[in-house]
Symmetry: C2
Subunit: 182 residues, 2 copies
DNA sequence: TCTTGACATGTCACTCCTTACATGTCAATC
DNA sequence: GATTGACATGTAAGGAGTGACATGTCAAGA
């Protein structure tokens, strides 16, 4: 029951790393530095912070202008965060529409398949470009995850290029002929 | 509203690729050939097939022994499947606990960080092993997605090895010292 | 002064997905 | 004959996540 809640962990991690912040700040941080790792919008973050406060993981530190609420991590929160990090066996529920399209490619004729792979490639390239433009803006944080994202991104791009080469290849290795190869 | 529904697409794809099947069969196929691309259990599949039948995308073809229900894709379903494949801009909502742990690594001392990365590495290795054992069991299908998974898996493993090397490095590049490098 | 846009917080309805529960058939083995 | 295990289908409660809507502050510039 209490074993998932990765959103909590991500929020605690940001609060621990960068100090007290408002829900608004945290939503921005998700966009800036965490978007390739975990996604969350303010509609998810605000209620979660309230629950976390009720559970003693964060404390509302002060209220500033414009109704701003500053949340700070509590010792209990910091402890839970580190326990999770050290103990939690990470799970992954892969759900990638790009991979699904790749899976279904053999349904299409070669021309359509090329169009689809080109679109997938463009998206991989864009995501990679975002990561590559990313400065060390989170100082130490995000450093390792950034590298992981870059590695996976490069590999994905390479897959797209290889696949396009195969689909376009001079030996005309059409999708339908791919059965016996490799 | 009707723009998501990747589960439907995955089910239609399997039905199109391998012919009529029961919900039970489809759940097995998800486990066997689609598990690195999209996940779904039978509790999600059974109700979805009922809705898809109501929408005319599949037809209950016959009922066999043990209450078995055979679903077949309809022309409407096949058409929708191909439209989605060609037109849909794939989206991704990355939610990886492994990447989250990587992101948060600087919270830990070096020894703990090594333990965490070793666990992440083991998981990457296991997933990769599953993919590498995978025969061409889906004939043409899954071929491209399999390669994509392999590429990403190898890249992830390489990241883990590099990260471990850095954390263990003879020049003792501890996590806390990593700020000024790169 | 007024409008724009960043700041700031929230609710609600809905979809998606997971976990646990519940039921029953049929073939093979003990 | 009884038990086990693969086959086969479902429901219900609840958590997780999204998109649309709603509200209000404050600073800067037209």
């Amino acid at each position: 029951m209490l074993t998932y809640m990765s959103l909590r962990i991500a929020l605690l991690g940001l609060l621990d790393a960068t100090g007290p912040a408002s829900g608004y700040d945290l939503a921005k941080s998700f966009e800036r530095s965490l978007n390739h790792v975990w996604q969350a919008g303010h509609t998810q973050i605000y209620p979660e912070l309230v629950k976390m406060a009720a559970d003693g993981l964060v404390a509302v530190e002060s209220e500033g202008a414009r109704g701003r609420k500053l949340y700070a991590i509590t010792p209990e929160g910091a402890s839970r965060l580190r326990s999770w990090l050290v103990e939690r066996e990470p799970t992954s529920a892969p759900r990638s529409e790009a991979a699904l399209q790749a899976f279904l490619l053999p349904l299409l004729d070669r021309e359509s398949a090329i169009v689809v792979v080109e679109r997938i490639r463009a998206q991989f390239a864009e995501r990679l470009a975002v990561l590559e433009c990313k400065p060390r803006d989170t100082s130490r944080f995000g450093r390792y995850a950034l590298r992981l994202g870059l590695a996976q991104g490069h590999a994905s791009l390479a897959w797209a290029d290889e696949t396009l080469a195969e689909l376009r290849g001079p030996d005309a290795a059409a999708v339908d002929d791919a059965v016996g190869r490799d």
